[in-house]
Symmetry: C2
Subunit: 263 residues, 2 copies
């Protein structure tokens, strides 16, 4: 059971202000809570139905002291999901770490991605394509927003993110980096030879821009290679999450081809 | 101004039952209403703010008799969007037409796509990649759902859809078609040579399956070529809209390559 105080505390965490004040955030739904437990993220409180507890005893058991058993209706009342018959966790935020890219690594950069659903989807896509670092402009949605966490389907546990002023960030690294950017008038991602563009000793950055306005002028000036997804029909644009997936898919394809030529 | 009766009528159209009863549906937001007007779809009522009217006079003017001018607060009250400061249209459904694929055409098939946001996104993606026909299982979300219309960003005006029993449908065409299906254990979409698979006189079908369960066994038995998007990181899956985009992007890439070899 959840006390009135606990319930008020959890509901306060729907808001960014209180998440920041307490340095915790909410993880909701069976799959996401399972991923948090499997990744051994520090958890402050675990609220779950008896069914979820029974099905996940081995995952939950060494956190038994933190568990409260509730009904699905209780979960709906304290959480942000329309319907949750499984679990909710109050999870400790990660400490900020300094960003450092490895030579040859591709890093994703988000310039003013406002929609939490898009940000969560992009984190999931990055995780599929083996991109583990994401740099976010300070105007990008907050990763700890429950909608981001939910859309990322657990991939937030395997992704590192860094919020920074992109102008300052690129100003510092500009001489030592390849910076790809998605535009409507760049080079075709089907035919660009990413491997000619990449230098093994230098890290690369792929910048994706705001849903309505694309990449802002402050960041655009650092782009060294403009990329475009070719269009075959009359639609005006693709959603930014879709565009991120298509570009990463083409990037990975080119490197797999090189790998199979070498073998 | 919108009368109490008009307002009740529009609000009833949030529900499928009343959309079907009246054979109309709602289109909301500046971009979508502009697309409906530009495509000259038959409209029953146009509710808009004075600002939207002034900015779109040429599009709206030959429908002037159908226009009601309201405040953004009125739009929020009668529509389904959280915030709409532009317009809402009550639009007539299209009559059902028989499905017919052209030789060499690729047709998208949706087996039990339940989420309206996913369906709308898939319609937008199909429109980007020049796929204009979508066959939906009877359990797939309703295209006229306001969330589908909204997520399609106007692409529903350029797409034809057909709801049918997929088992019966494929049973009829099975001997004369190539049927691709997205699975976790199929051929790599980066290396499959779609152009060897395609026969110019035969139409092809790409089947995308349910968000949780994939393609059902009744449809799976008709698949002639299993496809897989290669994975480079630990994420377990991609959203079905993302997967549709990545497969269509690879399919179009292979055909563009052939085109440029020929030229």
């Amino acid at each position: 059971m959840v006390s009135k105080n606990q319930s008020q505390y959890i509901r306060s965490l729907h808001q960014k202000k209180f998440r920041q004040q307490h340095s915790v955030f909410l993880v909701e739904g069976a799959k996401s809570v399972q991923e948090v437990l499997a990744a051994k993220w520090p958890v402050e409180m675990l609220v779950m139905t008896n069914d979820f507890y029974k099905e996940n005893t081995s995952l939950v058991d060494n956190q038994r002291g933190l568990v409260e058993i509730v009904t699905p209706a209780d979960l709906d009342r304290i959480g942000t999901l329309e319907s949750n018959n499984a679990a909710l966790a109050v999870v400790t935020m990660r400490p900020n770490r300094p960003f450092r890219a490895e030579p040859g690594e591709l890093v994703l950069v988000l310039d003013d991605i406002r929609d939490p659903g898009n940000l969560g989807t992009i984190i999931r896509i990055a995780d599929w394509y083996g991109v583990s670092k994401i740099i976010c402009s300070e105007t990008t949605a907050e990763v700890y927003n429950p909608k981001v966490i939910s859309a990322s389907k657990g991939s937030f546990t395997r992704t590192n993110w860094f919020y920074t002023d992109l102008d300052l960030f690129f100003d510092e690294i500009a001489q030592k980096a390849i910076v790809y950017g998605a535009f409507l008038n760049g080079e075709n991602v089907h035919t660009i030879n990413f491997k000619n563009e990449m230098i093994p000793t230098v890290s690369s950055y792929l910048v994706m821009g705001n849903e309505a306005n694309g990449i802002g002028p402050n960041v655009e000036k650092f782009i060294t290679q403009r990329l475009t997804i070719p269009r075959f029909g009359p639609a005006e644009s693709l959603n930014v999450g879709i565009a991120t997936a298509v570009i990463l898919d083409n990037w990975r394809r080119v490197f797999s081809e090189e790998l199979s030529v070498k073998n």
